[in-house]
């Protein structure tokens, strides 16, 4: 199945399907996420049976502020697709997909670690790459970067976003 055929097929279930640069993206509501992923996995001619990656992007000052991104791959049909869920700033939680894809466990922990997005029903939602006592969610765009202390008369190197870069 080519990209457009795949998009049409997914479009039977998900109203909001987009094709750009040869990639299929389906945008779903938070409540529909688990059902949609299950449908995409179990529908024989879609068969997106492998979850490659879960991550998020942060867009402060707009709604939704977070887009959670699920990258799927089909081993039988050798195609890929992406499912995205938008979350607003004060309500950044959604269902864990670990019951469908056990591999999501670490991906969701990483997304929680970096963005503070809570995955309801996750078996062990703790920080994974950062220390347990870390404060804040460093990949959020509004997280301050912090400067680098130097030994030169207490001078500091300013944070990278204040150095007048391109």
């Amino acid at each position: 199945m080519n990209v457009d055929g795949l998009a049409r097929k997914i479009g039977e279930r998900v109203p909001d399907v987009l094709v750009a640069r040869g990639e299929v993206t389906a945008v779903v509501e938070r409540e529909q996420l688990v059902e949609t992923l299950a449908w995409l996995r179990d529908q024989p001619d879609v068969a997106l049976d492998f979850l490659s990656s879960v991550t998020a992007t942060h867009w402060p000052d707009v709604d939704p502020a977070f887009w959670v991104d699920y990258e799927l791959r089909s081993f039988p049909h050798k195609h890929r697709a992406r499912v995205k869920v938008g979350l607003s700033e004060g309500n950044a939680h959604l269902s864990s997909v670990t019951p469908l894809f056990p591999t999501a466990e670490w991906h969701e922990r990483e997304t929680f670690d970096f963005y503070g997005i809570v995955f309801d029903g996750h078996p062990d939602l703790t920080r994974i790459l950062l220390p347990d006592d870390w404060e804040g969610y460093p990949l959020r765009k509004d997280e301050s970067l912090g400067g680098v202390p130097t030994w030169f008369h207490g001078a500091t190197m300013p944070p990278v976003d204040e150095r007048g870069m391109a």
Binding site: A20, R21, G22, E23, T25, D49, F50, L51, S52, S53, T55, T57, D69, E71, R73, F75, K78, H79, R80, R82, F101, P102, T103, E105, W106, H107, E110, F114, R127, I128, L129, L130, P131, P138, L139, L145, V160, D161, M165, A166
Partner: protein, 430 residues
């Protein structure tokens, strides 16, 4: 002969017995393996719960090598991103560069010239061999086959010298750039690579002679760390570890990039799913990589032309070559911008400080790295810097399967299982 002494409760200084009941205590022990442990391939910590010699529970703890590569790329230009991502999985730098650049090129809607694509394939396949050689050498060492360690690093060194001749560096090359590669092969490059391609098949035979039917090697690897194909898929395992379970999934065949569909090679598959199967698959993959590298080299020699895209808004302007000091330079271009053309100087300045402007959008660009599916989710908001670069590193995901590999086996098998998964912690922690 008197009667055998009656078994009595000996003074229980070690506390083996419960003081109240006198029963032997049946407790499990929790031990830490790592983060600094020679067999954890970096800084990986395993919390193991042991019942005697048997591992009953394992929890991998990662993050000790987290350097914020993804966040860093958000504050650098698109071009500088290459120098960051190449440091993620440091044993397969070219694959990181390739996946990143293919993604940015897809966002830009451009394609690298034919010759550059062939050079990319060539260096990647050689890189796959060096990566598998490090795996072979270190797992050999960990299981006591020290000679394999010496031989593995010896051959890797030959390839590293070739990398040095091509890119000027042994690791973290930043050689593959947006729109092509940063410099053409040096004059002596093809000859050196040809000699390597003649040498390596014999050397791989040697490893096989040493290991294939070696009773110790077989004893330590056969039936150890068995992973079924269903479990591998559910846990997201890719690469040789997946192909050792009977699933012949390889992105170079399944969703080809860089024209891999026009190369003649096989995807080695085994069905046992144990550490030995992973060894066999990796060794066979090195031979397949040699096949691809040979074809790529032949086609490079038939394909003249530029190695960087001819688009002033994308391509890096100088045509560098590695000098005797190992640093790439282009005196002709330097003279042009410094002495002849103000416009060229301004353009150079813009390229260095701002670099490429990438249209808004997002792509997921995946390549088959030595450890599996290496994917880059790249998001642009239309500016001069990436908005988000997410690295889907195969080591990170494969490591999740480690408890499935070692629970129920002996502690000593843990070493063999970790080694057979071949995690690179630079990629895991990014």
């Amino acid at each position: 002969m008197g009667e055998a002494p009656e078994m009595t409760t000996a003074p229980d200084a070690a506390g083996f017995r419960d003081p109240a009941t006198g029963e032997l205590r049946q407790e499990t022990m929790i031990i830490n393996m790592g983060p600094q442990h020679p067999s954890t391939h970096g800084v990986l910590r395993l919390v193991l719960e042991l019942d005697g010699e048997t591992v009953i529970r394992c929890k991998p703890v990662v993050g000790y090598l987290h350097t914020g590569i993804e966040k860093n790329t958000e504050y650098r230009t698109w071009m500088q991103g290459v120098t960051y991502v190449t440091r993620a999985d440091y044993l397969s730098p070219f694959f990181n560069e390739l996946a990143y650049c293919l993604g940015v090129e897809r966002l830009l809607g451009v394609e690298a010239p034919e010759r550059a694509t062939l050079i990319r394939i060539l260096v990647c396949e050689l890189n796959r061999i060096t990566s598998h050689l490090v795996w072979l050498a270190t797992s050999g060492l960990e299981l006591g086959a020290v000679s394999v360690m010496l031989y593995g690093f010896r051959e890797r060194e030959v390839i590293m010298e070739i990398f040095e001749a091509i890119t000027g560096l042994r690791m973290n090359h930043a050689y593959i750039r947006i729109g092509g590669v940063v410099m053409d092969l040096p004059e002596e490059g093809p000859g050196k690579i040809r000699r390597l391609l003649d040498l390596l098949p014999r050397r791989i035979d040697e490893y096989e002679t040493l290991l294939h039917d070696n009773p110790i090697w077989r004893e330590r690897n056969e039936g150890v760390g068995v992973l079924t194909s269903e479990r591998a898929l559910a846990l997201g395992v890719t690469g040789p570890a997946l192909r050792a379970t009977g699933i012949g999934a390889d992105l170079r065949k399944d969703i080809p990039y860089c024209g891999y569909e026009s190369f003649d090679f096989d995807v080695p598959v085994r069905t046992e799913g144990d550490a030995y199967a992973r060894y066999v698959v990796r060794l066979a993959e090195m031979r397949e990589s040699l096949k691809i590298a040979r074809q790529a080299l032949e086609r490079i020699e038939e394909t003249p032309g530029p190695v960087m895209i001819d688009d002033p808004k994308v391509g890096w302007p100088p045509r560098l070559s590695v000098g005797p000091d190992g640093i790439g330079n282009d005196p002709e271009y330097l003279r042009h911008i410094m002495e002849e053309s103000m416009e060229a100087l301004i353009h150079h300045f813009k390229m260095v400080t701002q670099g490429v402007e990438v249209p808004a959008g997002e792509v997921f660009s995946a390549v088959e790295s030595p450890r599996g599916e290496l994917g880059y989710l790249i998001v642009s908001d239309g500016g001069h810097r990436p908005y988000r670069v997410k690295i889907r590193d195969p080591s990170f995901v494969n490591l999740q399967a480690l408890p499935a590999l070692i629970e129920g086996y002996l502690v000593a098998d843990t070493v063999a299982s970790v080694a057979s998964l071949d995690p690179v912690l630079g990629g895991v922690d990014r």
